[in-house]
């Protein structure tokens, strides 16, 4: 087996491993491997996260492994491991994409983006999530690809369900898949269209030229490229045997071979071994001996300054944008969030929490602008789509940056994420004397946070009757939102949860005197 084939096998295995971790994110219990492993191993998320939050994030120390590997071996992570890279390779293989060498003119762009993101993180804004490949691919799988697969499955399921003898076998298949792979219901995300579009554009560029995203945009690739300097695994060309056929340049995924084919742009080389395999004269080797002929394009100082300024501008525009208070009142953060500020600084929008929640309570959604630009696309609870399951701690277990702290069950049961309020103009017992209290039925706290008084209600025809009228017991309510989700009132619900940040973060301001 050639090293190139070994690389392909490794890529497939890592990709399958990534998918496996993605699946088991929703397992109720018994996960032996941290499902956020790929995210934790991402040095870019670690560096920007630690800088932006001004905090040590121990979970991310594992990214040191990738840093050391890059120092010694170059960008093997990009070529052999990265699930985004493998997705793109798969795309270009299916699309039979050619290489366009002139793309090497855009290699600089990713370094400028990196500098911009680093500057923003120094200013306390974690913006790298927009383009970090691990975050991007995990997010896209959660919000776009899995829902499409689930919808497709359900479409076929519903079609076949019309055939009576197939019903029971179909239910058995579905139930066993729900236990392992599928969520129970197709789920929907409000930002799926936007995120799907971004992903489509990235895939689209892959059909233009191979690894376009990695060459030109990926800030993680840029960071790893900068670490390549002392690497010992390098490409060498035996100049005597080389016939200058240029085939190596053609097959180089990242255009790391300049017009002098003997040279290598080490920062760009992802150690894919395509050139070694392709060379008809067998004069290319990649090994641990000696230094290569390095080709280096330098950055212009002017552009570096502009990139830094771009980061400052990005941070500034984010920081000065307006948040409508009525909108932000809907930002119910996952349990285990310590404070809104810290949450926004740490969250890298990987949507592991949303992935975990989708098959549990279906509560967490990516925000749009509910919390302003600073918390764009951040996860928050929407009681219209689901609710926070009382006995579930999944989202707290899968956060790579500890934006959501891990909670044990006992703590989770008492963790306040919001507070429920009755809209007495819509709640039926208040509005027209209809008995209801579905909210009380579903309220999960052992001593119910929704209780009722029995009151006499006089109807328009003069008759009267004693009905149960619900109310919220404020110091028992944890804001899980099941009352809003299950409220049977058509249209806007008769009870709703809002965030109660100061109450949630235990400032001592709330509670009965």
């Amino acid at each position: 087996m050639t090293v190139r084939k070994l690389r392909i096998v490794t890529q497939v295995l890592f990709f399958l491993f990534f998918l496996y971790l993605f699946w088991i994110t929703s397992e109720i219990s018994g996960r032996l491997i941290p499902v956020d492993l790929f995210l934790r191993a991402d040095p870019l998320l670690a560096v920007t996260g630690i800088i932006a939050a001004r905090a040590i994030i121990p979970a991310m120390f594992i990214s040191v492994v990738v840093i050391i590997a890059t120092l010694l071996l170059g960008r093997v992570f990009c070529g052999w491991v990265c699930p985004m890279g493998t997705t793109l390779d798969l795309t270009s293989r299916i699309g039979n994409t050619a290489n366009r060498y002139k793309l090497n003119k855009t290699h600089h762009l990713k370094y400028y983006l990196l500098i911009g993101f680093l500057v923003a993180s120094i200013l306390g804004f974690q913006l790298v999530y927009h383009l970090d490949p691990i975050s991007l691919i995990t997010r896209t799988f959660t919000v776009v690809i899995l829902p499409i697969l689930v919808k497709s499955f359900n479409f076929i399921f519903n079609l076949l369900f019309n055939i009576k003898p197939l019903q029971i076998p179909l239910l058995q298949i579905q139930s066993s898949m729900v236990d392992s792979l599928l969520p129970l219901e197709p789920y929907f995300f409000q930002s799926a269209f936007v995120l799907g579009l971004i992903f489509t554009i990235i895939i689209g560029f892959e059909l233009y030229s191979r690894r376009t995203f990695c060459q030109s945009v990926c800030p993680l690739g840029a960071l790893l490229g900068l670490l390549c300097k002392p690497q010992i695994l390098t490409r060498k060309v035996d100049e005597d045997g080389c016939t200058m056929c240029a085939q190596c340049q053609d097959v180089c995924k990242t255009n790391a071979i300049p017009d002098d084919y003997h040279e290598t742009e080490l920062r760009e080389c992802i150690q894919c071994f395509n050139c070694v395999d392709t060379c008809p004269e067998n004069v290319i080797t990649i090994n641990f001996t000696g230094a290569a002929q390095q080709h280096k394009t330098d950055f212009t100082r002017r552009k570096l300054v502009f990139a830094g300024a771009g980061g400052i501008a990005g941070a500034a525009f984010t920081g000065i944008s307006f948040i409508r208070p009525d909108e932000s009142s809907k930002l119910i953060r996952p349990p285990g969030t310590v404070s809104e500020k810290e949450f926004v600084e740490r969250c890298v929008r990987c949507y592991q929490c949303i992935r975990a929640c989708a098959t549990s309570g279906n509560f967490l959604q990516p925000s749009l602008l509910e919390g302003g630009w600073e918390s764009l696309l951040s996860p928050y609870g929407v009681a219209a789509t689901g609710y926070c399951e009382f006995n579930c701690t999944l989202c707290t277990e899968v956060c790579p940056t500890d934006a959501i702290k891990e909670l044990d069950m006992e703590t989770k049961h008492k963790t306040i994420i919001g507070l429920a309020f009755f809209d007495k103009n819509r709640c039926l017992p208040y509005k027209d004397g209809t008995p209801c209290i579905v909210c009380e039925e579903h309220c999960p706290t052992p001593e119910k946070a929704i209780q009722f008084n029995e009151e006499e209600y006089t109807y328009p025809d003069g008759s009267s009757r004693v009905i149960k009228v619900p109310y919220v017991v404020e110091n028992l309510c944890i804001g899980c939102g099941i009352c809003e989700y299950k409220c049977p009132v058509e249209g806007a619900p008769g009870i709703y949860v809002t965030n109660q940040t100061e109450r949630s973060y235990n400032t001592g301001l709330y509670g009965y005197p």
């Binding site: 239910l171 139930s175 549990s360 309570g361 052992p446 001593e447």
Partner: protein, 304 residues
């Protein structure tokens, strides 16, 4: 719908049949012994959940009275909540598995177990212990699929005219209703009739609006052949999902009756209530759901 009518006719005919009350003889044999009148409701106490269940069914004439050879049977427990058995929010797993075994012993071809849960179904099925117990007993346990719900007209109902029910339940040859007895805010108690909401789709919360009128109509429409009320543990407050073990009382009791209204009426006694305290029980006889006056019931109480 034809299967539905058949079941109903089947009950009428078999209900007229009489049988003895000895243990250990299969249901089909009971039906052949003439002359003895079967109790309309039985209460068995103090045995294990499985023993109580088996004895109760035997006292009613055996499962063969309800399940015929080759039948597809739906055993409908309460799996509504993500709670553990000791929290008494769901039916005791042993009661469910024993019921399934009895169905197979009477020649059932398939036993289906499902419930439209209130919490996440995966969590409810797993943490209630019911999915595992039912599968071990040989039943087909599945989550309820959207495609399985169909809108049904309810011509005999005066309040609820139309609703989505699970077609696999409605088309089954026999439904064995296995609720747990517990407290419930709006319905006062959730027993046999309330448990049938688990084969309904749609926005079920709306059933609460006229719950005492709707529940008997639903029970008359779904018409389970047998109701086995699990009172191994009962939940006396903060129902229907509880969570506080202080609200749970251990009774080790099983109540069984082919008449859902009779079973529900008797079960009120476990909570120190009267049948006439609860609207949907009062309205039951109007729909032919059985005697609700405990004094007038053909009742048989056994202690193991």
């Amino acid at each position: 719908m034809s299967g539905h009518t058949n079941r109903r006719e089947f009950i009428k005919t078999t209900g007229l049949l009489t049988a003895g009350t000895m243990l250990g003889i299969s249901g089909s044999l009971w039906a052949e012994i003439p002359g003895n009148e079967l109790p309309s409701i039985v209460v068995v106490k103090n045995g294990s959940p499985a023993e109580n269940t088996r004895k109760a069914v035997a006292l009613l004439g055996g499962m063969g009275r309800f399940v015929k050879k080759g039948d597809t049977v739906v055993v409908k427990p309460n799996i509504g909540w993500d709670r553990k058995p000791e929290q008494a929010a769901n039916t005791t797993p042993e009661v469910v598995s024993e019921t399934i075994k009895l169905c197979f012993e009477s020649g059932a071809d398939k036993v289906l177990v499902f419930d439209n849960t209130c919490n996440n179904p995966k969590r409810c099925y797993a943490n209630s212990g019911i999915a595992e117990a039912a599968e071990d007993a040989g039943a087909i346990v599945s989550y309820m699929a959207d495609a399985g719900y169909k809108e049904y007209d309810m011509p005999e109902a005066t309040h609820l005219k139309k609703w989505a029910f699970y077609s696999l339940a409605m088309e089954a040859d026999c439904i064995i209703n296995v609720p747990i007895a517990k407290h419930h805010g709006i319905a006062e108690l959730t027993l046999g009739m309330k448990n049938l909401m688990g084969v309904m789709g749609g926005m079920r919360g709306r059933i609460h609006w006229k719950i005492h009128q709707y529940l008997p109509e639903i029970a008359a429409f779904v018409k389970p052949e047998l109701t086995i009320i699990d009172a191994t543990r009962i939940l006396k407050a903060n129902g229907p999902q509880g969570g506080n073990l202080d609200d749970v009382e251990r009774l080790d009791t099983i109540i069984a009756s082919p008449h859902i209204g009779t079973a529900d009426a008797y079960a009120t006694d476990l909570f120190g209530k009267k049948p006439t305290d609860i609207g949907y029980i009062i309205n039951g006889p109007e729909y032919g759901l059985g005697e609700i006056d405990i004094e007038k019931m053909n009742l048989r109480i056994e202690t193991i």
